[in-house]
Amino acid sequence: MSNAPTREVARRVFASEFNDAEFTFKESDDERAPLYALLPTGERANRVFVVGTLTETEDIGEDSEYWRGRVVDPTGTFFVYAGQYQPDAASALREMETPTYVAVVGKPRTFETDDGSVNVSLRPESITPVSEATRDRWVVETAERTMERLGAFDEEGNEYVERARAEYGEDVSEYRQAVLQALEDFDVQETESAPDA
């Protein structure tokens, strides 16, 4: 029973923090060892679960299809890339109308651009349509999980916190701001939402 490899938890992280998670690492030298992105709030993420608005899809492939989708949350945009090795996700991006709410389960990936900066993106395992209620639940849940990480950020002896401090610095106030911004969005939406929304 216990010899089955344990499945990696899908972390909840807002786009603004996810896109800052440029540092990746493995826990062992094994070629097949899982790759982790180091979140700036001090946690490792091999998998994330994201819900947001799919605003644009585009086939940017040259020889074969390679789809890019933009998934927007209250703090920023996740870039989702799916090609021939993610056939289900690629066909979801090909067929979905935008804008629409989607849930994405996927793995963080980084690539270096020509000008030397690192871009963080999401390699999807699945992309499925969801309701607005699911999207709202995700925002609240992700705010909670992010606050939990922020709460643990001052702990001594937390390996990933220490690595995050070393890689990204000690200032995590922008992620606290992002949490507030995401939650305060609900107030604005409630007062502004028109009957025909």
């Binding site: 029973m1 089955a4 344990t6 499945r7 990696e8 938890v9 899908a10 972390r11 909840r12 998998r47 679960f49 819900v51 289900d88 979801a92 989607v102 849930a103 994405v104 389960v105 395992e125 699945s126 499925t128 349509p129 969801v130 309701s131 209620a133 699911t134 709202d136 639940r137 995700w138 925002v139 609240v140 849940e141 992700t142 705010a143 909670e144 999980r145 606050m147 922020l150 709460g151 606290r176 949490v179 507030l180 939650l183 305060e184 609900f186």
Partner: protein, 310 residues
Amino acid sequence: MSDLSDTAQEIHDEFSEHVDATVDDVEERLQTLVTEYKVPVDEARRSVENHYLDEAGLDRDDLAGGGGNETVQVEDVDEPEQWVDLTAKVVELWEPRSDSVGQVGLLGDPTGTIKFTKWAKSDLANLEEGKTYRLGNVVTDEYEGRYSVKLNKTTSIEEVDEEFEVGDNEDEVEGALVDIQSGSGLIKRCPEEDCTRVLQNGRCSEHGEVEGEFDLRIKGVLDDGRDVHEVIFDEEATEALTGIDLEAAKQMAKDALDTTVVADEMRSSILGRYYRVTGPTFGRYVLANDTEELDAPADPEAVLIKARSI
């Protein structure tokens, strides 16, 4: 011959604390005596028991356990081959499927329920449904992550006057459904009696190529961002979750000439949504008895107050 393996199991259970021998070892010894040397089963059993008593340096009386058992509750049973004492109510009695089984059924205490087996040859008094007993010296066992207790000839049975509500040992898990694993959707099971294994490419790992019987199942993963829970939805739960029943699934597969369309369709309608599932845990899996989609409007207020305070 299945009689012999049952006897072997009983002997093994008796000695499991003392001697490092597998059930197969025990059975081989019995087999040699019974088939090669024509020794009656009872005598063979005595002889094999004596062999292991010698090996362990024990007297026959030591086997009764000496009263040093731990008194446990049903939910504490999480390891096979433990000698324990248990006070439990007989929730149900089932029809024994083998002559070597005297009684089989379900015991329960406030923490949950557990299967019990009483061997025919153990010469114990019959348990009655609805009555509560203090059972001394029973052995725990495990099969595919499910635990049971076995009553043997060293077990003491004492009816007691205790009233309690039997617990349902159900767990509640919730989270986003982040994966639907292979072996989900429209599957085929082995039709052999008591088998029900899921076929891989038309083959049963036990019975080879067979004409399978269709069934619906989902093996899913619920993830709340802290932990993952593997959940199995049986035919009924799958229909409740996806709105696709077995007949509809068969028709979909027939139209597409492909059974995988069923799982694909299910994926697109349930992946990425939040659910709360309640049901018993067996090994790695929670078996979904009741599933609720968490689609009520989110309430950000409490979280916002907390966020502002830090």
